[in-house]
Amino acid sequence: MGSIKPYSGSFGKPELIHLLRRTLFGVSKSDLNYFKGRSLNQVVDQLIPATPNLPAPPVRAYYNNADPTKDNIEKVGTVDQVKWGETWVNTPYQTNFAANPYGYRGNNLKYWMTGMQLSQDRSVYEKMVLFFQTLLVTENSVVENPHSMYLTHTLYRKYAMGNYKQLIKDITLDPGMLRYLNGQLNTKSAPDENYGRELQELFTVGKGPGSGYTEDDVKAAAKVLTGWNVISSEKVNNVTMNIIPKRGFNKNNHDTNTKTFSAFYANTQIKNDTSITTFPSPFGSIEEYRAWLEIDQLIEMIFNTDEPSRYICRRLWNYFVYYDITPEIESEVIEPLAELFRLHKNDPDQLQIVLKALFSSDYFFKSEHRGCMIKSPTDFNVGMFRQFEFPLPNDSKLEAQYAMWNQVRSYVFNAGQDINDPPNVAGWPAYYQSPSFHEIWLDTSTYPQRKSAYESVAKNNYAFSFADATKVYDGVNSPSYKFAVKMNFVDFVKRFENPSDPNSLIDEAVELLLGGTVSQGVKDQLKTTYLLLGQSTDYYWTDAYEVYLANPNTTDPESKRVPSMLQDLFTYLMSAAEYHLC
């Protein structure tokens, strides 16, 4: 066994495109231009940075009445508790609010998630956040608390390129997770095995060939995990106030008996260590601290086996490369990557190191692993907007910005991926359900949704008529008022090398949208059909395009249809099977 074989071939445009398609949501012409001429190491260093700082939190961009004088969604009396454009994440709902805003906030968080993806920088960060959402699942519709959802997200972000074991330690007592997997109901007298089981089966050890934990291990883990709960309210001056949920501990509910694990865990015994008599902050009691130390031992015990490293590396391969893990991939990729994972299991940059190795590896760049991944609904839709560098509104047009984020989110939702609401604790089936895996994303109901979305992106005028000018939340002179945006394909192809040459334009468009595996014969047909409109001479396009560029208001019958010809071309390119692959 050795380290994973690094890629040593040439790093040209096809390799760059492959790498970007897998690490980013969609690849734009600007992305390609940005990385042009850089070495593999330089590109990987940028794509897989140390975990970045948290982005600015979601802010209020919603109301329950289009007329501000009637809207009361975040109000006590007439006073806004969360003002328009300010974040709600530090302001729990109180019973004296005119209305419960948690439904709005939960949706707002979803729009924001999509917004973060749409405005991602050139790094794998947002894809890792989504990876954790399908690996360490909680569901908005089950947790029913946007503050909990936000805290769980914060953990995904905090460890995106960080230490996986520490993420597991943190998420084990995350209020959202305690609620989602019944940790808060797990007591000495009535043990609930839910988290103890999923911790091993879905979060760490998995069910791979080397997995050997037993039902008794599930029970023992559940006992270790007893006693914790979620505190959602506190008395302040004798008045009960809702708070941002936090973990709590009830010593009477914790099982202090010794827990014995199976041979898979080297017959480890986890004891409640009564020799410890002082407790650090933030623990509230010595009993709580001792119970936490049991969990710490539990997770250390799990990560002392080799299985979590293999399981996570398989999940990474499945998520980023392909779902078919052959014996060759297992021995040449998973094993050495898992070894690296273990080698760095205590390091704060563990995942950064593992991801860099994966994305610099010989196997990642093998031709058989290119263009074979079916895009998730997020990759398809967010990637489409990023790819076309669609002119989304910025935060000076807050209402429009969130509305467009929601529009994209709804495309993702329609195509079968409800952000912040995976279908169950195992995440989206595409990432685990054998034998179809990623193919599960596409069927006769989701395919038309993707088609409808790309046709809308190509053709729709996204117009928002937010009440009337005096009732717009962004302000009386709001730029959101009557905000409208439409894809401009002429601006888009202006970024191409030589858009007046129909052959060059088709080559670049095909390379960008379809990955460049389309044959010359098909490209010729595309050119003839969409740029020459059935004619056979290239200069019909060249003349039309150049006349149009010189004067977009031209009345020349050929030239004035240049925008619609490009619109038709790109709409058609998106009908290719290849457009669903990356």
């Binding site: 596409l442 409808s452 595996t517 389309v518 098909v522 969409y530 004619q535 009908s575 669903h580 692959l581």
Partner: protein, 531 residues
């Protein structure tokens, strides 16, 4: 075998109940129609680029002028090589490469119309193509197609509730990308399928590179299958393709043969028809007619680029007609060729011809009125570079004849479809019509999501519509395809609704109401009349 006549003459067993044919039992009518193979089919063959009509249909009585060096001496077909057409006193002939269409002519299966065009000609490929496709006047922009509007008349509820048991197949099939000609107020009326026949890829895709033998290939094959299944007509088209066949040996065989690509398209059409598909209109095309230079071999004017183009068209139409005859569906089909324009009378110095005006049209089928309609043009020896063949017939008169006499559209509806009244020409053999009961039934097929009552109306009418819930839009569209009113544009609960539609300020004439409910669209015709 004519299944329809078979049904009318013998008892039919349906679900254990024997139904005997006595006249006009509605049940029998429905049954027999649903099994009918008497439906009329139209095949539209588009010749992209602008065909040089004067070297296609040659006026032999004009050679005194044509042979002049300032006319078209450098491309003229030698008089003795021209295929002289009977019934024209040897004054008119076909290009010598068009032997198969010449045979059709001699068998009364080809109708040739001289000088087809329209007033105020446009010489842009793209604009002229739109005019031919939309059937508009040359100074009007109409954003729907003549065939699309016909299909909207024949099947007003399409695409909602289609396919269905009576019409399980696409109402029109376009081989290649969609065309304006088959659109109706923004609703594509045709299903696109591809232009090769092996394998018959039904996703409407030009993207046919064979999937590789690797992971990517596996996923491409998977996605294409999903696309095919998603295409709700995919299975019925495939069933017809599996059942159908080509028996003619005359189709071009090698990819280097003239007309090879058109041949693959027409072979698909023949195969689908023989497999029992009930599609009304097929639209195919072939390009390369934009012969600005070297359209003939300078040593032999009967050979070269244009000769090969015409040979391709003629060979393929001949092969298709042969297939139709051998398989017994000859009487159900009619075809027409058109190009966006003809070419100039005077050839240019590069041995080619530039964009022109009127052109000959060819209508083929066993139910045509064979012969040549119209007169030879008179070629002025003093023609200039701007001289064009004069228009003798409006192209919309050809459309009107086919719609009226082949598809049997009544006159009032013809005026709506073609936007005004055009006289019909004697192209289709009298008595070729299908019973009006077929149209009466087609009108009811599918689900009726939107209609106006009253209609026709004087000032205002009421739009009655049904939505399945969610975003719903009701628009009023004028004859040019512009939205003039949006009556509804919001989220609605599923259900039936009424909305008033006031067109008091609008001129009398044809309007359309269009409903869009998420991905569903339906368009109906409104008629405002003077009070």
């Amino acid at each position: 075998m004519k299944r329809r006549s078979f049904l009318q003459s013998v008892p039919v067993a349906v679900g254990g109940i024997t139904v005997t044919a006595y006249g006009s039992s509605p049940l029998l009518e429905a049954l027999s129609t649903s099994l009918s193979d008497t439906d009329r089919v139209l095949i539209i063959v588009q010749l992209n680029g602008g065909n040089d009509g004067l070297n296609t249909l040659i006026p032999l009585d004009q050679y005194a002028s044509l042979t002049l060096s300032n006319i078209r001496q450098n491309i003229l077909i030698p008089e003795d090589k021209v295929l002289k057409l009977g019934g024209t006193n040897d004054a008119t002939g076909l290009h010598p490469s068009m032997t198969r269409m010449y045979d059709l002519y001699n068998n009364g299966k080809l109708s040739i119309i001289q000088g087809v065009g329209y007033p105020k000609f446009n010489y842009s490929h793209f604009r002229a193509t739109d005019i031919w496709m939309s059937g508009s006047d040359s100074d009007k922009y109409v954003f729907s197609g003549w065939a699309g509007r016909y299909l909207g008349y024949e099947y007003p509820n399409y695409p909602v509730g289609f396919p269905n048991s009576v019409m399980p197949d696409p109402i029109a099939i376009r081989i290649g990308g969609n065309v304006l000609g088959l659109e109706n107020q923004g609703v594509p009326m045709a299903v696109s399928i591809t232009n090769t026949n092996d394998p018959l890829n039904l996703t409407g895709s030009l993207f046919q590179d064979a999937p590789g033998n690797n992971y990517m290939g596996k996923e491409i094959a998977f996605i294409r299958e999903v696309q095919r299944q998603t295409d709700k007509f995919g299975d019925s088209v495939k069933a017809a393709a599996d059942l159908g066949k080509n028996v003619s040996s005359l189709y071009p065989k090698a990819s280097s043969d003239p007309g090879y690509l058109l041949g693959t398209q027409m072979a698909i059409v023949a195969k689908l028809i023989s497999g029992g598909i009930k599609t009304r209109i097929f639209w195919v095309n072939t390009g390369g007619f934009d012969t600005h230079s070297a359209q003939v071999n300078s040593a032999d004017h009967t050979a070269g680029t244009h000769a090969n183009l015409l040979k391709g068209v003629s060979d393929v139409i001949g092969a298709f007609m042969d297939d139709a005859k051998l398989q017994g569906f000859e009487e159900r089909i009619m075809g027409m060729t058109f190009s966006e324009f003809g070419r100039r009378i005077i050839s240019n110095a590069s041995g080619g011809t530039d964009h022109g005006a009127a052109q000959p049209m060819f209508i083929f089928g066993s139910k045509v009125v064979g012969g040549v309609l119209g007169k030879n043009p008179t070629i002025d020896p003093a023609s200039t570079v701007n001289s064009n063949l004069p228009m003798q017939y409006d192209f919309r008169s050809v459309y009107a004849s086919i719609l009226g006499d082949w598809f049997c559209v009544e006159d009032a509806a013809l005026d709506q479809i073609l936007l005004k009244n055009f006289q019909k020409l004697p192209i289709v053999a009298p008595g070729s019509c299908i019973p009006t009961s077929v149209h009466e039934q087609n009108k009811e097929l599918g689900e009726n999501l939107v209609y106006a009552y009253p209609n026709p109306f004087v000032q205002s009418t009421k739009i009655k519509f049904e939505t399945y819930g969610g975003h719903t839009m009701i628009q009023i569209i004028n004859n040019e395809g512009s939205v003039i009113k949006t009556l509804v544009d919001k989220e609605l609960q599923a259900g039936k609704y009424d909305v008033a539609c006031d067109l008091e300020d609008a001129a009398a004439g044809i309007y359309y109401v269009r409903i869009q409910n998420k991905t569903l669209q339906q368009v109906k015709t409104l008629m405002k009349v003077n009070g």
